[in-house]
Amino acid sequence: MNGSYSLKDIKPGQKAKVSRLLSDGGIRRRLLDIGLIENTEVECLGTSPSGDPSAFLIRGAVIAIRSEDCKKILLHRN
């Protein structure tokens, strides 16, 4: 296995559960506020026309997150 499995690795239509947040500072708090805590289910909905950011369905709301930030949101493999 090469590196960790993160939000950057799931494709549109795929779902996964959050295992850990590596982000820090303001973005970490923002992500927690929108309910992105451990075991929260996330679905990738699609990608912006230019390839970044991507949109995710998180607790019923659609949130766009840039790929650098996605890399720091680790997911459970299943």
């Binding site: 947040l21 973005i27 309910g35 912006s48 369905l57 766009a64």
Partner: protein, 711 residues
Amino acid sequence: MGLTKSSVGISALDSGLEIKKQSENDVVVAIAGNPNVGKSTLFNNLTGMNQHTGNWPGKTVSNAQGYCRTEDHGCVMVDIPGTYSLMAHSAEEEVARNFICFGNPDAVVVVCDATCLERNLNLVLQTVEISEKTLVCVNLMDEAKRKNIRIDLAALSKSLGVPVVGTVARKKRSLDLFKRELDKLLSGKTETAPVSIKYDDAVERAIDLLSPVIEARTDGALPSRWLALRLLDCDSSLMRELNSRLGFDLMSDPEIGVALSEANEALKQSGMDAVSLRDSIVSSIVRTAESIAKSAVKKHSGYNDFDRKTDCLLTSRKTGYPLMLLMLAVVFWITMTGANYPSQLLSDMFFALQQKLTLLFTSLDAPEWLYGALVLGVYRVLTWVISVMLPPMAIFFPLFTLLEDVGYLPRVAYNLDKPFKRCKACGKQALTMCMGFGCNAAGVVGCRIIDSPRERLIAILTNNFVPCNGRFPAMITLISMFFVMSGGVLGSLTSALLLTGVILLGIIVTLGVSRLLSETLLRGVPSSFTLELPPYRRPQVGKVIVRSIFDRTLFVLGRAAAVAAPAGLVIWLMANVTVGDMTLLSHCSSFLDPFARLLGMDGVILMAFILGFPANEIVIPIIIMAYMSQGSIAQIDITQMKQLFIDNGWTWATAVSVMLFSLFHWPCSTTVLTVKRETGSIKWTAVSMLLPTLVGMLLCFLFTCAMRLLS
């Protein structure tokens, strides 16, 4: 519902909030909620005001207040900025928290989006921790019903321990129940027993150590359990506020200090540091929200198949950008085609009236100078502003508002984030640019949605590169005069495409200048960002059209009277007061002429831009007025106007230069004042004026040189 007259122009310059009660017995009600849940719509319908509303998060950026009468109470309603949390990570969260904690509201209404209730409960839970007098208003019940989401309001109220009421804030009538519930809460008829969030055992033990000591020191001014949590979480901004507003310096109190270090020690022993403590606090709230939502809501997500398909179309790799441009072009096309007829009608009407006025002045034997100053000066400029500028504005505005109301604008930000990130700026800048289409002052205020101070400043400094409503009617006029030979559908399509091209140029320059700023004055790297894409909503078509035409018409008329009338007088005086052998007008224009020629324009045009500083709407009318003071044609339609311009030496190249300069020159006075207030710095205000001016001069100069070389 789009920009209104209270959100654009000079009233965009708001000041601090001071609660204005109409009588001693009035109560204060705060309206809180996540971004984009209809707080402002609720506020407007309760107070009869026209606070700007639109389907995108972060639109209300400061507190607004209005008055509402319920059966038993006179209420001062305060619309506070939308936030996801009250833990004060950002400026608007601080504003919201401070008002709930220190603004002494008699009740707090938390507005929730029924289509996304679980996420909204996070803020509800945080609010009830502070204030027992909370009313939860589950809004957008109609959208939820359409999406087959069922919410058991009674069960929700039971689990939260505070009253809950369902509303459709767009429909005034649905607010009666809301007002009744609010009355009951305010007069103490509703018992509240807010749910207490159960934190992790280690956190609970630390709270138990701290809260009795806090309780004793603060006399219960704020809930001690909540204060204990904030103290453990080292919320220094709250401690500062507490100190300055209530005079408690909790941090320097010895007894609290002892209890705090004991509590911190206990936390450390359970293996918690600052980060994991905060995570644990937030997670407990989110889990509580999750379990409450589970018991009260059937089917959670408001993001349905329709939204999914629409987003696929509007943001996909193949269709995202083309559709964006197409939409812009269609909006312009409708604007241009639709504006012709009313423009002509108004012009005819005003001309007929001018002849009546002339007869009146002749019959009264009025002196020649009075007739000249009032009719040929004030009246003519005023009516040109109205007949040339008003119709395109009155059409563009509601169209754009509809796009905003539907929820398309956040998708624009989503589509354009990458180019902005490349320029080391924030994708939300695209949203503030969209606001700039309406009014640059409003766009500059809107930049508050950008969290990073550096990126926000970039957005403020470049907002003027988007032509506002006051500028693009001039571009429409010039395009239809000089670049579109054929009439009919083909002609109007070409015009729309050309105008879209002009806007694209504005966007490209915005990106380029943002990049330049990021490399020079505002060096830095792009910060992290999250952007919420709200569900599409059915637009309130009728209401949008009526409101924006009505508001816009009044606003433009008001501004025309305030600015165009004096400008007309000044121009007339300048054209008729002779110093030496020339009129003042000739003196000024011949003074500016050599410089203006370098930019492909003439002295009159440059002077018109300078006199247009208070409002860009008057630039073209001033040019016409100044040219006409030498010749005389009575009524202006587009062919005569073109002839007048050609007689004064215009070619299509002149028109290009004027359009370039109109797109890139100093912002209007209102925008400058707004930038001054938003940045609080003379330096950045100066930069915001110099930057577009230099860009415009450079582009005009290069274009003129190229034209000279070619010919």
